[in-house]
Symmetry: C2
């Protein structure tokens, strides 16, 4: 890949995570990347496409990390748990995702809202794949994979994000226990 393209992505990612999407200007990005503004537009057709590209690579990165957390020797329950934990730890600790989620909450920039929705959709699709694999292997009983992935994801959001709004945060240990107790018991055979 072109060296300039890399510089642009790096500069934009840095600026987005520092100031947010809306507050980042293309002049800013050009300056940080040591590139003329026009050059950006030879690689990306708009500011929005630049954001999409960056979020796409975040999605890949999260999937890669979740994959690493999975250990074929462990059960499906263990693994789906570990994968979700990685996904949400990333979300909680990654500068850029933090900033972008803040921006959606505080000013609701439409482009950012859309792109974070896609991130959620892709995470659900990832979990869905794992569920389908486990079903094929007969590790879990048959179920609607999309619906199950959706519920697992929503439950993790509830435990990791929503609960903290009005209570003491739950430890990852506790979340794992609850997830197991409430969601997995019904699924395992």
């Amino acid at each position: 890949m072109s060296e300039k393209r890399k510089q642009i992505i790096e500069a934009a990612a840095k600026s987005f995570s520092l100031f947010g999407y809306k507050a980042t200007t293309m002049d800013q990005v050009a300056k940080m990347a040591n590139v003329g503004k026009g050059t950006i537009y030879t690689f990306f057709k708009s500011k929005e496409e630049l954001l999409e590209e960056i979020v796409s690579s975040i999605i890949s990165e999260i999937k890669r990390e979740a994959d690493v957390a999975i250990d074929q020797r462990l059960s499906f329950n263990e693994n789906v748990q570990r994968a979700l934990q990685r996904i949400f730890t990333f979300r909680k600790e990654h500068e850029l995702t933090i900033k972008l989620l803040q921006e959606v909450r505080d000013i609701g920039t439409p482009a950012v809202r859309d792109v974070m929705k896609r991130l959620d959709r892709e995470m659900i699709a990832y979990v869905r794949e794992k569920i389908e694999e486990a079903m094929t292997k007969g590790e879990i009983r048959s179920c609607d994979a999309e619906l199950t992935a959706f519920l697992m994801f929503k439950m993790y959001i509830a435990l990791n994000v929503d609960w903290e709004k009005e209570h003491e945060p739950l430890s990852q240990q506790k979340i794992a226990e609850l997830f197991h107790l409430y969601l997995l018991k019904g699924l395992s055979r």
Copy 2:
């Protein structure tokens, strides 16, 4: 209770559900209630308190309806299910809650946001009571009642509200099945 007070509440409830909280003026309410504007302030110290009063009575109404849905001869699982179903059916069909939830989504009026949050909290508290009762009676095994009520409520929101944003709505029948399959299996003894 004073006749005028009743007229005011009725007029305000009607106007809120017709035009929303923000778009309703106190002059409007006074006119609809056939009352001088000053009279409103002998019963309510602000527009916000008027809203709070109305939402409080909605909360009572929902609890009453949920109570009616509960049948002591049925199991805890059946009953918590039926109660939650009533709560969400109300939420979906009651003009005023629909309008207020729209207003929070579309313009985020702070007073309305706060009051709808309270409604959610009170519904969780209601479910929590039912869980504590069942625990006392030994109908279900011991658990953190607040956390369990919270998860049940979040799961119902996921199934009733969030799922429909990107998929075909689920029937109440299907929701009941899923709730049973995923959440209750792990709780029953």
